[in-house]
């Protein structure tokens, strides 16, 4: 009985941390992108170069943050890799001719500005950051 309770507590804490991570991040897209939500798998596929088309047919290109807490939280929550390993993955695609390197920007405001004015772009910022001119995608 104690073991069941302990396991349930651990599972709840784990779920809470996961939701907490997602709550810290807002996924944003250019208003021209048709989708209003994405699954975690879709997010991972786009931001690892496996997918360039969302369900619904919108052609998308990812935009990254160069560093920081939001960037680290995004990698932990959606990609499951460290920043170094993540950039190794993109280099393998770029230098083998399979993809372009996604743009990396310094701040949430820079990401918002780029996404707002670049058709098909999709990025991530802190959930509390201003995001005028872009649409926020729900994570399902």
């Amino acid at each position: 009985m104690k073991r069941i309770l302990w396991t349930s507590m651990l599972a709840s804490i784990s779920l809470l941390c996961s939701l907490q991570g997602m709550a810290q991040i807002a996924l944003i897209a250019n208003p021209g992108v048709k989708a209003s939500s994405m699954s975690k798998k879709d997010v991972a596929d786009v931001f690892t170069g496996r997918s360039t088309v969302l369900p619904g047919g919108s052609q998308v290109a990812p935009v990254l943050l160069k560093s920081g807490a939001v960037h680290e939280a995004f990698l932990l929550e959606f990609i499951g890799k460290s920043d170094a390993t993540y950039r190794q993955l993109w280099r393998s695609l770029v230098f083998s001719g399979q993809a372009d390197m996604p743009k990396s920007l310094d701040s949430d405001s820079a990401v918002v500005g780029f996404v707002a004015h670049t058709p098909g772009s999709i990025g991530y910022i802190g959930a509390s950051s201003p995001h005028e001119g872009v649409k926020v995608l729900a994570i399902k």
């Binding site: 088309v53 052609q59 170094a84 280099r91 393998s92 230098f95 001719g97 390197m101």
Partner: protein
């Protein structure tokens, strides 16, 4: 064939630039990387370097440019400078291609394109994309890397979803022409014995790769197959030939190298979870053919050429594991084996390698690697000219590497 592809590429590039309103429309990107390696070995010199004295003769630099003028079309090219011991020391074209991606399920690349076989072939020359200094040489021999990396032709690719619980299937199919340059590492032994291929060796190639990203998170298994058709090439033989009744006939002699059609299968799998990565692969390279040397003095006697058959059946595998200690530091090890089942018994028939490796990413741009190899057997990576005193059956090889990419 090559000229047709290059001509098509040039036309595509010109039309792209003609349509673009400005450079911004083209979304041009330029990237590059450079690595400098240092090798030190005991017992033998390896990979055509003077590694027993410590050798810095391992340098690579790459620059690529790409343009993305419309969402589904991408064009680009990459050039490389490669030096390893006596190999390379030249600037070559890695790839130059146009790519049109219809959707996630179907895309096509044509031009000089990377050949998608095995787990590492497309990226084996991209040092910054993995932690190892030297990949398992039985399957990814660095002395022949330039010839194995790419072909002139096309690749079709895509990802197919297998229902809600079947995972995804990545597929690649390719075809075209592949060339082994005259100075390719495959021919080191032949060159040192006086045989040369002035125009290299080339022929048609086709094949495919399937990678199943299974429903088990982090687990991928796959297979590749590569097929070469009958290849032939002109050759020269600088050796003298002794014929009873005619004495010693001095070369060089001309002739033909014939490589029979071959089939190269690969099977591989990888599991990645959190900080751990485990990978394994097996491949087989069986080949046979003949060296046909024309000796003019023998032709009147009804001997159009002297034929020497050759045969090999190389089977290689490796298992590797790595662990990310911190966000910047990785440790790993692998064991690889390669055996030529057609070779005579002895150390030259096999190569066995235990490897310990580490990688440290200083920042986004700069990294360092250190690797220790414990090699037994001399099937791969040794040549007589670099080891005039003979080749010892075991070698210990230390590699240090520094890399920068942008």
């Amino acid at each position: 064939m090559k000229r047709l592809w290059i001509g098509t590429m040039a036309l595509t590039l010109m039309s792209v630039f003609a349509v673009a309103q400005s450079l911004d429309d083209l979304n041009i990107q330029i990237h590059g990387y450079a690595t400098q390696g240092f090798l030190y070995s005991s017992q033998n010199n390896v990979l055509t370097t003077n590694s027993s004295d410590g050798s810095p003769a391992w340098t690579e630099a790459v620059v690529n440019i790409s343009a993305h003028p419309i969402p589904k079309l991408r064009v680009g090219a990459q050039v490389r400078y490669f030096l390893l011991g006596n190999l390379g020391n030249a600037i070559t074209l890695d790839w130059a291609q146009a790519e049109y991606k219809v959707n996630n399920r179907f895309g096509v690349r044509f031009g000089k394109v990377k050949t998608p076989t095995g787990l590492f072939n497309e990226i084996q020359d991209i040092d910054s994309s993995y932690m190892w200094s030297l990949l398992p040489q039985g399957i990814y021999p660095i002395v022949s890397r330039n010839s194995l990396l790419s072909h002139t032709g096309g690749v079709v690719y895509g990802t197919l979803k297998l229902g809600t619980s079947g995972g995804e299937l990545d597929y690649r199919a390719f075809g075209g022409e592949r060339e082994l340059a005259a100075d390719d590492g495959y021919f080191i032994g032949l060159r040192e014995s006086g045989i040369a291929f002035p125009n290299g060796v080339n022929g048609a190639v086709l094949g495919g790769t399937l990678k199943w990203n299974t429903p088990v998170n982090g687990l991928m298994v796959g297979a590749s197959d590569l097929r070469d058709t009958l290849w032939s090439a002109t050759m020269t033989d600088a050796n003298s030939i002794t014929v009873p009744g005619l004495g010693t006939l001095s070369g060089p002699f001309n002739g033909t190298y014939m490589l029979q059609p071959l089939d190269v299968p690969f099977y591989f799998g990888r599991y990645e979870k959190n900080k751990v990565s485990i990978t394994g692969e097996w491949a087989r390279l069986p080949f046979s053919g003949t060296l046909n040397v024309v000796v003019p003095a023998l032709v009147p006697f009804g001997i159009p050429y002297l034929q020497t058959p050759f045969r090999a059946d190389q089977r290689a595998w490796y298992g590797m594991a790595s662990y990310k200690v911190t966000s910047k530091m990785q440790f790993g090890m692998y064991h690889s084996q390669s055996v030529n089942h057609q070779a005579v018994l002895g150390p030259s028939r096999y190569s066995k390698d235990w490897v310990l490796s580490a990688r440290y990413d200083m920042n986004e741009f700069v990294y360092a690697k250190a690797e220790q190899h414990f090699l037994d057997g001399t099937e791969i990576g040794y040549d007589a000219n670099a080891n005039p005193g003979g080749i010892n059956p075991s070698t210990r090889l230390t590699i240090l590497k520094l890399g920068v990419s942008f």
